[in-house]
């Protein structure tokens, strides 16, 4: 079994296919040209044979009750149209006996009559293939009644020569056309593949850290699809790389100070001789450690949300379930036992396409913010508003000052009121989630208090069911 290896280059593949196509076509046309040529040669020389046979038949007359052939030279002049071919002739009487002929010893037997006046047949002539015609002439004379059969034959040299000539005449222009087509195909393929070449040149010259999108406007549509998906991929990669950098720089920036403080307080605790003041220092140390733990949680959560927003597959989820989960977790009872928490959800599902974990984290952060900074009671609610699904948290306070509110959501932005436990990452996580799922953050102060909302595009349930 022969294994076929496709050539690696696209151009070579297409050219190969075109060549194969042209060759197949060429073979088919050659075959048909050969058949046509043979047919034409056969017809042309069959007519000559018939002409010669007719000549001989016409020159036969009845003399004394016997057919006599006055063999005409014109018949042989006709046959000499095929100058290199050997000839045969014979005239048979009514009983099949030979009247006259070329070779009285080597007779080509007449064929059985089929009724036609002239019949052609193939038979060997001294070991060489030859073509014969058999012609019948009827006589109705006083002293002779019956028919004579004239057989004239010729070898096939001239026929082959003519057929070959016709085929070659037909094939030369075709070969030239095939060559021209091949050249044309080469040019066309080259120009069609030029954008691809430019693309690969662009890619190979690109900085390995350059993740900016590649221009796709001037490319053929097939390539645009590819480039767009590649650009999407590169964008995601870019965001992830940036998120990773942020995480590292945040961690470095945020962790250094508390860790240094913990170390100093631990050293101070070691040096404190008084048990009472040592206990005080230890208590502060514990508080610091807790704060660091919270910070770590938030950092990791933020990183996780940033990561998931890009990489986690979106699923259809009901915002009511998210809210319910958070309330049922009862974290708020630990965090702020004195604040009353209410849950407002409707009966119809509020569906979005998102990542349950990310949305859960965002909602958790919103709630924690309200519990910490707001005034009770705090309400967690979910509602559908037109094409938007809204998860909101409301407290009875007035919200932050407009100047602070403007800066809210930036990383590490702390209000003067925020204590050590707050590092300002909460709203930033919400913002990141909103951005990841094509949503936004809404803030408003109303009669009922200050409300922060995570607004996501609502999933068209009908569409998803279909």
């Amino acid at each position: 079994m022969v294994e076929f290896h496709l050539p690696r280059g696209l151009a070579a593949r297409v050219l190969g296919a075109v060549l194969l196509l042209l060759l197949t076509g060429g073979l088919l046309v050659s075959g048909s040209a050969w058949l046509n040529g043979r047919q034409a040669a056969r017809q042309a020389y069959d007519r000559i044979l018939l002409g010669a046979a007719s000549d001989i038949a016409e020159s036969t007359r009845i003399q004394d009750g016997r057919p006599v052939v006055d063999l005409p030279v014109s018949a042989f002049k006709l046959l000499a149209q095929a100058p290199e071919d050997r000839v045969y002739y014979a005239v048979h009487g009514p009983s099949g006996g030979l009247v006259t002929g070329l070779d009285l010893a080597a007779v080509v037997a007449p064929r059985p009559r089929s009724g036609a006046a002239a019949e052609y047949f193939d038979a060997p002539l001294q070991g060489e293939r030859a073509r014969f015609v058999q012609l019948v002439r009827r006589f109705a004379e006083r002293d002779f009644s019956g028919e004579i059969v004239v057989i004239v034959g010729q070898t096939l040299r001239a026929r082959r020569g003519m057929a070959l000539g016709l085929v070659l005449d037909a094939l030369w222009p075709m070969a030239a056309a095939g060559l021209a087509l091949m050249l044309l195909a080469w040019v066309v393929i080259r120009s069609a593949l030029r954008p691809l070449k430019a693309l690969s040149a662009d890619l190979s010259h690109r900085d390995p850290y350059d993740l900016t999108p590649m221009p796709a406007e001037s490319l053929p549509s097939e390539l645009q699809v590819m480039i767009e998906s590649m650009n999407r991929f590169m964008g995601r990669l870019d965001r992830q790389v940036r998120a990773m950098r942020t995480l590292i720089s945040d961690s470095a920036h945020q962790l250094r100070t508390p860790v240094a403080a913990i170390r100093i307080q631990a050293e101070a605790a070691l040096e404190e001789p008084e048990p009472e003041s040592r206990n005080r220092v230890l208590a502060r140390l514990l508080a610091r450690t807790r704060s660091l733990s919270t910070l770590l949680d938030q950092l990791l959560s933020h990183a996780l949300v940033m990561h998931r927003a890009d990489s986690a597959p979106r699923a259809l989820l009901d915002l009511r379930e998210i809210a319910l989960d958070i309330v049922e977790r009862r974290d708020h009872e630990v965090l702020a036992p004195e604040v009353e928490l209410r849950l407002v959800i409707g009966e119809t599902p509020v569906m979005v396409w998102a990542d349950a974990f990310s949305v859960g984290e965002a909602a958790q952060n919103l709630l924690v913010n309200a519990l910490k900074h707001g005034i009770g009671p705090v309400t967690l609610g979910v509602e559908q508003c037109g094409a938007e699904a809204i998860l909101w948290v409301r407290d009875a306070g007035h919200g932050p000052d407009p100047a602070i509110a403007e800066r809210l959501g930036r990383r590490f932005e702390r209000s003067p009121a925020s204590g050590e436990n707050n590092v300002g990452l909460g709203l930033s996580i919400v913002k990141a989630v909103a951005a990841a799922f094509d949503g936004r953050i809404g803030m408003q102060t109303g009669e009922l208090g200050f409300q922060v909302s995570l607004i996501l595009p609502s999933a068209d349930v009908k569409e998803t069911v279909e």
Partner: protein, 360 residues
């Protein structure tokens, strides 16, 4: 007609019967063998060369050939044309005893065409053969070596100046105007006897309508149909015949005598080219091809011209225009000459013209 008068009816019948025997039973090998033979050269490779050409005429060509090819020994055999045909045909059909010929050269070109048409020849191509004109080769299996015109000869003592018939029409006029002078003194080949005479008569019958008039004229002047070139030429030289029609020019050249004048008829002159064939059964095809190339070479042509087998036919020399030359082409048309009905018809025309009113 004198000859017919001399010859009995029995002879005629016998000739007809033997002819019939040849035609109807071709596979019967004639007992007739070569008339003469000789070996030229002392080489180790024998080359059997059968020909109708007189050995004494062709001798210088063969001597030069073996001189050039010392590895060959040419076994030359001189045959009568009919016997040579039967021999070649038997060899071709795988019958007949003895060694097959390696090369055959015959003046009976219709026989040779018949043999090649029956696939008895083997092909050969060289620069020399390719240079031959169309009329002198066929299928690259048959080649015309010589150029010998059919001429009218006359006795220069009896006919001279304006009286010499330069064309067939002049001869016809002469037979009409001087019947008494020419009565019984015009000779030509006997068609039934001479293959060459038959070939010329056949070609004449195809060439022009003058043939019928000629036959008529021959009948009126009681022309003599006889055999054998040498006798005819001798008799013309001696004045027994005044004119002989369609004599092979090469024989006249060979037996040149001042009493014999030669005319190449200006209306048309038939030119015979002896045909050379390498039989399919030949054992020494390569040597036969060498002989062929030699025969066509300028060197051999010079010798052939000298011995008369290639005639001087320069228009400036003979006054014969090129258009009057009628080569007897080596082509399947010659098969017509071999047809028995055609032959019967020509012979009956001939005999009819020659039947004398006072035949016993």
């Amino acid at each position: 007609m004198r000859h017919a008068a001399r010859r009995g009816l029995a002879d005629l019948l016998l000739a007809a019967l033997s002819l019939l025997a040849i035609l109807t039973a071709p596979t019967v090998v004639e007992a007739a063998g070569p008339e003469r033979g000789a070996v030229f050269g002392e080489g180790g490779t024998p080359l059997i060369f059968r020909s109708t050409t007189d050995m004494t005429i062709i001798r210088p060509v063969l001597e030069r050939f073996v001189e050039r090819n010392p590895d060959l020994a040419v076994h030359y055999e001189q045959w009568a044309s009919n016997a040579l045909f039967d021999n070649s045909r038997a060899a071709c059909e795988g019958e007949g005893g003895g060694d097959p010929a390696d090369a055959v050269l015959s003046s009976a070109v219709q026989h040779m065409v018949w043999l090649v048409n029956a696939a008895c020849g083997s092909p050969y191509v060289s620069a020399n053969t390719a240079a031959l004109p169309e009329a002198r080769r066929w299928r690259d299996e048959l080649w015309g070596i010589t150029e010998e015109p059919a001429v009218i000869i006359y006795n220069t003592g009896a006919i001279r100046g304006q009286d010499v018939p330069r064309s067939r029409f002049a001869l016809l006029d002469m037979m009409r105007t001087q019947p008494d002078l020419l009565r019984g003194r015009i000779a030509t080949y006997d068609l039934a006897e001479s293959g060459l005479g038959y070939l010329f008569a056949h070609s004449d019958s195809l060439e022009a309508t003058s043939f019928g008039a000629l036959l008529e004229g021959f009948a009126r002047t009681e022309a003599v149909a006889t055999c054998c070139s040498s006798e005819i030429i001798r008799d013309v030289a001696e004045g027994k015949f005044l004119i002989a029609y369609n004599v092979l020019g090469s024989y006249v050249t060979e037996r040149r005598s001042p009493e014999v004048g030669v005319v190449m008829p200006e209306d048309y002159t038939l030119v015979l080219s002896r045909a050379y064939m390498i039989p399919r059964q030949a054992r020494q095809k390569e040597a036969a091809a060498r002989l062929l190339d030699f025969l066509l070479s300028p060197e051999a042509r010079k010798i052939l011209t000298k011995i008369g087998l290639v005639a001087h036919m320069d228009p400036a020399e003979t006054g014969l225009p090129l258009s009057a030359r009628r080569a007897i082409a080596l082509s399947p048309s010659l098969l017509v000459a071999m047809d028995r009905h055609r032959r019967d018809r020509l012979l009956s025309l001939w005999e009819g013209a020659f039947v004398p009113p006072f035949r016993p």
